[in-house]
C-alpha cells in the first residue's frame, strides 16, 4: 500500500486537474453562449425597432421632445469641446508648420482634420457619454419601476414611443451637432492662430474652406448619421433590456457608453477604409 501511495496521489491530482479543466471549459462555453445570445438579442431588437419605425402612428411629439433633449441640451458641452479642439490643434501644429515655413497651410489643415475626423469622432464620443448613458439610465430606471410594463399593458407600444423616437432623434441630431462642433472648431483654430499671429477671420475662413472638397465633407457627414444611430440604438437597447434591480440601471448606463463608444470607433475605421477606396 505504501508503494502505491505516490501513484494514488498522482491519480488524484490528475482527477482534480481534469475536473477543473472541464469546469473551465463549461464556464467558457456558457460565456461564449451568452455573448452570442446577446448579439442575437441585439439583432432581434434592431429588427423590431426598424419594423416599428415604418409602422403607423408615429409619436411625433415625443420625437420633437427627444430632439430637444439630445440636441439643445448637448449644445453647451459641444460648444466648449469644439472650440477647445480647434484651439489645441492649432497651438500644437503651428510650431511644426512654422519650422517648414508653411504656416499658410494651417487653416486648411486644421479644417480638413476637424471635418474629416476630429469633429465627427470626438463629438460622437461625447454624445455617447452624455446621450447614450442618459438613455441607458432613463430606460433602465423605467424598466425597474415598471413604467415600461405599464405602457405595455395600457396598449401603448413602448418600442415605438420610447425607442424609435430616441434612435431617430439621435440619428438626426448627432450630425447637426457635429457640423456645429466643426464650425466652432474652426473658430477656435482662428483664435489659436491669433495668439501668436494676426489673421483676419475672413481670410482664415476663406483659406480653411478653400482646402475642403466635397470628398472631405460628404463621407464625414454620412458616417455621423451612423454614429447617431449607434448611440441611440445601443443606449435604448441597454436600457430597455436592463434587469429588475436598481444595480442594473448603473450597469445599463455604463455598458451603453462603453459599447457605443467602441462601435463608433469601429464604424469610423470602416468608414475611413471605404473613403480611402473612393
Amino acid at each position: 500500500m505504501k508503494i502505491l501511495a505516490p501513484v494514488i496521489k498522482v491519480k488524484e491530482i490528475a482527477k482534480d486537474r481534469t475536473i477543473r479543466l472541464v469546469d473551465k471549459t463549461i464556464e467558457r462555453t456558457v460565456k461564449a453562449g451568452n455573448f452570442l445570445t446577446e448579439i442575437a438579442d441585439g439583432f432581434l431588437f434592431m429588427t423590431r425597432v426598424t419594423k416599428e419605425t415604418f409602422s403607423r402612428h408615429f409619436e411625433f411629439r415625443e420625437f420633437l421632445r427627444q430632439c430637444y433633449q439630445i440636441g439643445y441640451k448637448t449644445l453647451p458641452l459641444i460648444s466648449v469641446t469644439g472650440i477647445i479642439i480647434g484651439l489645441v490643434l492649432t497651438i500644437q501644429t503651428r510650431p511644426a508648420l512654422l519650422s517648414f515655413g508653411a504656416v499658410g497651410l494651417l487653416p486648411g489643415m486644421v479644417a480638413i482634420s476637424l471635418i474629416r475626423e476630429m469633429g465627427p469622432v470626438i463629438t460622437a464620443l461625447i454624445c455617447a457619454g452624455k446621450i447614450g448613458s442618459g438613455m441607458g439610465a432613463e430606460l433602465g430606471s423605467m424598466r425597474v419601476t415598471e413604467q415600461i410594463d405599464a405602457m405595455e399593458v395600457s396598449s401603448t407600444n413602448p418600442i415605438k414611443f420610447l425607442v424609435v423616437t430616441r434612435v431617430l432623434a439621435a440619428t438626426i441630431m448627432v450630425p447637426i451637432l457635429v457640423l456645429y462642433a466643426d464650425a466652432l472648431g474652426i473658430l477656435g483654430s482662428w483664435a489659436g492662430a491669433n495668439i501668436k499671429g494676426d489673421v483676419s477671420l475672413v481670410l482664415f475662413f476663406s483659406q480653411a474652406f478653400g482646402q475642403i472638397g466635397f470628398i472631405d465633407f460628404l463621407p464625414a457627414l454620412v458616417k455621423t448619421f451612423f454614429f447617431g444611430a449607434i448611440i441611440g440604438f445601443v443606449g435604448c437597447y441597454k436600457g430597455y433590456t436592463a434587469g429588475r434591480g436598481t444595480e442594473s440601471v448603473g450597469i445599463a448606463a455604463n455598458s451603453a457608453v462603453v459599447l457605443s463608444s467602441l462601435l463608433v470607433i469601429i464604424v469610423d475605421l470602416i468608414a475611413v477604409q471605404i473613403t480611402d477606396m473612393l
Binding site: 430606471s141 423605467m142 419601476t145 415598471e146 413604467q147 410594463d149 405599464a150 399593458v153 395600457s154 401603448t156
Partner: protein, 258 residues
C-alpha cells in the same frame, strides 16, 4: 343599496357564473425554479377576487401572466373569452385595452405631470376624443380618486398613497372591464391602506369592474374580498369566502388570519 367601502355582492349574484377570467393548470418558472406549478382559478363578472400568499409565492407572476407581461410555460388563460397565450400582438393589445393594471410601484411616468400621465393612455386608446372631452375625463377620474388638485404636479411631488390613487385613476380613465391590483397597499401606512381598500370597493361599484387583488395585507383582503384564493408552493391551497378563512383551523391559514 350597498354600504360604502364594502364590496358589491348584488352585482355578482345578478351576473352569477359569468366568467371573465379562467386560468387552467398554469405553470411558470424562472430558470430551473418553478414559481407556479399548477394554478387553476376562475374570476366571475363583478367580483373582487383576492389572491393571498406569502412573499415569493408567485402572486405577482400570476397576474403578469394574465396580461402576458410574462409568458406562461404551460397552461391556459382565457380572458373575456380570448385565449391570451395564443393571441397575436394586435389582438393582445386590443384585449389589454379592457384591462386595468395597478402596479405595486405605481409606475407613474416620471417625466410627465399627473395630467399628462392620465392623458397618455386616453389619447392612445380612445383616439376619437377631442381635447375638451379628454379634459373632462381627466377631471372626472381625479375627482373619483379624491385628488382633483394634483393635476399639474409631478409624480415626485406626490406621497405613496397619492401615487397609488393617481395610478388607479390612470387605469380607470379608459373604463376597463377588469382590474388587476398588484399589492395595492404595500408600503402604505394603515390609514392610507384602508383608504385604498375602500377606493377599490368604490371602483368596483361605480365602474362595475371585475377585480383580481394580489395582496398579503389581511386588512385589505377583509375589506375588498368577495372571494379569496390562497397560494402556497405554487398551487392553490384554499379557496373560499372571507368567513371560511377566518374560521379555519388550518395552521397555515391561521398564520395569516390571526
Amino acid at each position: 343599496m350597498t354600504i360604502p367601502g364594502t364590496p358589491d355582492t348584488a352585482s355578482i349574484k345578478a351576473e352569477k357564473r359569468e366568467q371573465v377570467i379562467e386560468i387552467a393548470s398554469l405553470r411558470k418558472g424562472f430558470g430551473s425554479e418553478d414559481v407556479l406549478t399548477d394554478v387553476s382559478l376562475k374570476v366571475y363578472a363583478g367580483e373582487n377576487l383576492v389572491v393571498l400568499g406569502k412573499s415569493g409565492s408567485g402572486k405577482s407572476v400570476l397576474i403578469k401572466c394574465i396580461v402576458r407581461l410574462l409568458e406562461p410555460d404551460e397552461g391556459k388563460i382565457t380572458v373575456l373569452g380570448e385565449d391570451v397565450i395564443t393571441l397575436d400582438r394586435n389582438r393582445l393589445s386590443e384585449l389589454r385595452k379592457k384591462i386595468g393594471f395597478l402596479f405595486q410601484s405605481s409606475a407613474l411616468y416620471d417625466s410627465m405631470t399627473v395630467k399628462q400621465n392620465l392623458e397618455f393612455p386616453l389619447r392612445r386608446i380612445k383616439r376619437d376624443l377631442n381635447q375638451k372631452q379628454i379634459g373632462e375625463k381627466v377631471g372626472e377620474v381625479l375627482e373619483n380618486v379624491g385628488l382633483s388638485d394634483a393635476l399639474n404636479k409631478m409624480p415626485s411631488q406626490l406621497s405613496g398613497g397619492m401615487r397609488k390613487r393617481i395610478s388607479l385613476a390612470r387605469t380607470l380613465i379608459v373604463d376597463p372591464m377588469i382590474m388587476l391590483y398588484d399589492e395595492p397597499t404595500t408600503g402604505l401606512d394603515p390609514v392610507t391602506s384602508d383608504e385604498i381598500s375602500i377606493l377599490i370597493n368604490d371602483v368596483q361599484k361605480k365602474y362595475k369592474t371585475s377585480s383580481v387583488i394580489i395582496t398579503h395585507d389581511i386588512e385589505c383582503a377583509r375589506t375588498t374580498a368577495n372571494r379569496i384564493i390562497m397560494l402556497l408552493n405554487g398551487e392553490v391551497y384554499k379557496e373560499g369566502k372571507t368567513a371560511d378563512f377566518e374560521e379555519s383551523d388550518d395552521p397555515v391559514i391561521k398564520s395569516f388570519f390571526k
